[in-house]
């Protein structure tokens, strides 16, 4: 019989273990979400990443080793983005009727996201490259990193801020919209896609398909608009 440490050192190096762990951690997160009565604070992504971070820490596994396995899941983000065309097409009749509300919500939501983040951060003493890194945090990660580089920010920090923004958005959107008495799924979805990109969109799909479709549009359009406005808004705070 092979000793456990040998098996472990074999498993730890290959993609199988960490790919399996990623799926199992997500299933745990999803089960926890259901068990909590679908409480938005028990976000499956948040639970899964905390569980996995704990396991990596306990086994002294570097993130790069983990990612060797998890990259297969990560890769699917691209095809999933393309697949957003599906709900978009299925909801096209809603979309056609809501062009003006979408345009207005996009501009207001996008400018508010960039300006208020810079305003709060600079009021709390953040400046320079760190301040530039927070400007594109509401856009989807690849676009945010591109914008951050353009603005002289730190891409790694931006990537972290983007993910955190998505999780915050996914957690607060339902209680916030209920408190504001906004019952229109289109408005709820569009706002969360604009403010909290793909993670917000994933949350919207969990709740309602129409909300998910509008979130997908909000995410796509906000990526474009933020790239255009971020340099000007940042200029106001430097």
């Amino acid at each position: 019989m092979t000793e456990f440490p040998e098996i472990w050192s074999y498993l730890r190096e290959g993609p199988l273990l960490w790919l399996t762990a990623t799926l199992v951690a997500y299933l745990l997160g999803d089960a926890a979400y259901r068990a909590s009565g679908q409480n938005p604070v028990v976000n499956p992504v948040l639970v899964a990443m905390l569980v996995l971070a704990g396991v990596l820490w306990a086994t002294a596994t570097p993130y790069a080793t983990y990612f060797e396995g998890a990259q297969f899941v990560h890769f699917m983000l691209g095809p999933a983005t393309v697949a957003l065309a599906g709900p978009l097409y299925a909801n096209l009749h809603h979309v056609r009727r809501a062009l003006l509300p979408m345009a207005g919500a996009l501009i207001v939501g996008s400018v508010t996201a960039v300006a208020s983040a810079l305003w709060i951060a600079s009021a709390l003493g953040i400046e320079g490259a760190t301040l530039a890194s927070i400007a594109p945090k509401s856009t989807t990660a690849p676009v945010a990193i591109g914008i951050a580089e353009q603005l002289g920010g730190l891409p790694t920090l931006t990537a972290a801020l983007v993910i955190l923004t998505g999780i915050i958005g996914a957690v607060v959107v339902t209680p916030l919209m209920n408190a504001l008495r906004i019952t229109d799924w289109r408005a709820r979805g569009f706002a969360v896609g604009t403010a909290a990109h793909g993670i917000g969109t994933a949350r919207a799909f969990q709740v309602n398909e129409t909300a998910g479709a509008f979130a997908g549009i909000g995410m796509g359009l906000n990526a474009l608009l933020t790239a255009l406005i971020a340099p000007y808004v940042l200029g106001l705070f430097q």
């Binding site: 990623t22 997500y26 976000n43 499956p44 992504v45 899964a48 990443m49 905390l50 996995l52 971070a53 990596l56 983990y66 990612f67 998890a70 899941v73 990560h74 095809p79 999933a80 983005t81 393309v82 697949a83 957003l84 065309a85 599906g86 097409y89 809603h94 509300p101 979408m102 207005g104 207001v108 996201a113 208020s116 983040a117 709390l124 927070i134 989807t140 591109g146 920090l157 972290a160 993910i163 955190l164 923004t165 915050i168 959107v173 916030l176 919209m177 019952t183 229109d184 799924w185 289109r186 408005a187 569009f190 706002a191 993670i199 994933a202 969990q206 796509g220 990526a223 474009l224 790239a227």
Partner: protein, 120 residues
């Protein structure tokens, strides 16, 4: 099934090539999404084909963010001493952007007279 996956990957590939060739500020998959939507509009039969696969992919969209999320915790030191201030800015601005966006949407929908019907 395989054909659908090949189609989706093909649209992503085309999007990536266009984004790079034309130096567009939009990521390749977003262009792929726009192209696929155009394809659906031109050929509704294509939509019937691909829709079940796209729904399957999107049903667990959250799962796909887990690897990047783990990276954030593993790189928590990137936040550094500015951590609390950055977190406050993220929470504050996300709440403000959500509220401002949704309220604008609802307000304009009412003004243009399509607020009631498909709200639920």
């Amino acid at each position: 099934m395989i054909l659908n996956i090949a189609l989706i990957l093909g649209f992503q590939l085309t999007g990536e090539v266009l984004a790079r060739a034309l130096a567009l500020p939009v990521p390749g998959p977003v262009i792929g999404m726009a192209l696929l939507l155009t394809g659906f509009l031109i050929r509704p039969k294509l939509a019937e084909r691909v829709l079940p696969t796209s729904q399957g992919l999107l049903k667990h969209l959250s799962l796909l963010f887990v690897p990047a999320g783990v990276g954030v915790i593993s790189h928590a030191e990137a936040l550094g001493q500015s951590g609390p201030a950055l977190l406050a800015a993220l929470v504050g601005s996300t709440v403000l952007a959500l509220a401002a966006g949704a309220l604008t949407f609802v307000g304009l929908a009412r003004l243009t007279g399509n607020g009631g019907k498909d709200s639920a």
